[in-house]
Symmetry: C2
Subunit: 247 residues, 2 copies
């Protein structure tokens, strides 16, 4: 009679927006008890998610650093981006599966929340039918943004739109016009396009720029004050609630 | 020469969606070190936020229970809802200010996040110009919803709309039609209206009903399976990402 193989569990762990203290108690517990941690990063960059939790990692934890092979901009001629990325996610899932198959848990570190604009979904859909998988939600960057602004994001009957700065200018403008409150994520090099869309939608006077919310180097200013050359990828534009009471 | 009066600090503390372990480390620290805690509830009801943190409270902490005098439905004839509520928030802010003026910190407990559909804004706008005020963001219920579903909420270029079940049916339908992904909060007794709007928007086959996410009594089912008589206020409808990969 063979012993049953007990596999490890795959945790998608939201580590919050930047301040390590904004991790949940559950995220911290799972991080501390997982023999292995995994995280994505761009080539030549460190992982923001790993940076957030670095003080809690120990030398005996195995680290799976999953390095994106390309970015949309840096693709060699003749290669299909979708195909290259699918192959990369397959290989990443295989690395995680290798640890899980040995019976060890893996904490996949995700900035903010695992299922809100993140890469965890590419592991989740490749692993969750074979291994026990659990998602630990986290504080998303958009709520770190309203916290540092000290302004209600949305209230009462209002509609909040969460938009991506990668949308085309006409779509961005149209979505903004019909929003009571909005957050635009993935601003970075899209800043000038985003600012023009916000301006055309008549919302520039309500728009804030927030960079590295709750982290060292946090910057908060009115959108019309930002130098476009200075905007990193992890910045956002926040157009808070219209109806919320002000001081 | 008089000694300067050092006032306490007012913290808006997001306690997360329900599971006490989904509080942030910072929320827990502030909760444990604040001599006083404040929370809202309806008349005759306990506070959900207090319930979430109850295991961490100690008998020596002062509790300010701020009880709503009325609901929209229960207003006596001839009284103006806005005026009654403004008076209530004034009195609530006065109670919190009384503690702050003695030099003691107050943690205002907020389900989910303090500035995302919450009553904390009514204290914040009455206190933040007189007392040091800080917002501690929390995990919002909408991300607890996607976590228990195990389905990406939004990804890539998609637009996420966060809607209130209190919207009128035509607005709900129009907003849903144009959304890539959506969450409808404050469902409760609006369930049948919400379901009709989702159906007319052609989204019933993608819609999930989530109640008490991450709490005891959690229920998850397809929206077309829900008995409207059974839906509490703190339930939501989640229409996850269209583009996210599935298993």
């Amino acid at each position: 009679m063979m012993a049953a193989v007990v596999t490890g569990r795959c945790f998608g762990v939201g580590v919050g927006p930047g301040d390590p203290e904004l991790m949940t108690v559950k995220a911290l517990r799972i991080l501390r008890t997982s023999p292995a941690v995994a995280y994505f990063s761009a080539t030549g960059r460190s992982s923001n998610a790993r940076q957030i939790v670095s003080e809690f990692l120990t030398p005996d934890q195995e680290e799976l650093h999953l390095v994106y092979p390309v970015t949309t901009e840096g693709l060699p001629m003749g290669q299909d981006y979708e195909a290259v990325m699918a192959k990369f996610y397959d290989a990443s899932a295989d690395r995680v599966a290798g640890v899980l198959s040995r019976g060890q848990d893996v904490a996949v570190l995700c900035e903010g929340d695992p299922l809100f604009h993140g890469s965890f979904m590419y592991l989740h859909n490749r692993l969750s039918d074979r291994f026990p998988t659990e998602v630990v939600p986290g504080v998303p960057s958009i709520l770190a943004g309203s916290a540092v602004l000290g302004t209600p994001l949305v209230c009462l009957d209002e509609v909040l739109s969460v938009l991506s700065g990668t949308l085309n200018p006409a779509d961005l403008e149209a979505r903004l016009v019909e929003s009571d409150a909005a957050v635009i994520m993935k601003v970075g090099r899209n800043l000038e396009k985003v600012r023009q869309a916000v301006t055309r939608a008549g919302l520039l006077n309500r728009a804030w720029y927030v960079e590295r919310a709750t982290m060292a180097g946090e910057r908060v200013m009115r959108l019309d004050q930002v130098d476009p050359a200075s905007s990193p990828y992890f910045s956002m534009v926040v157009i808070p609630s219209r109806l919320a009471p002000t001081r």
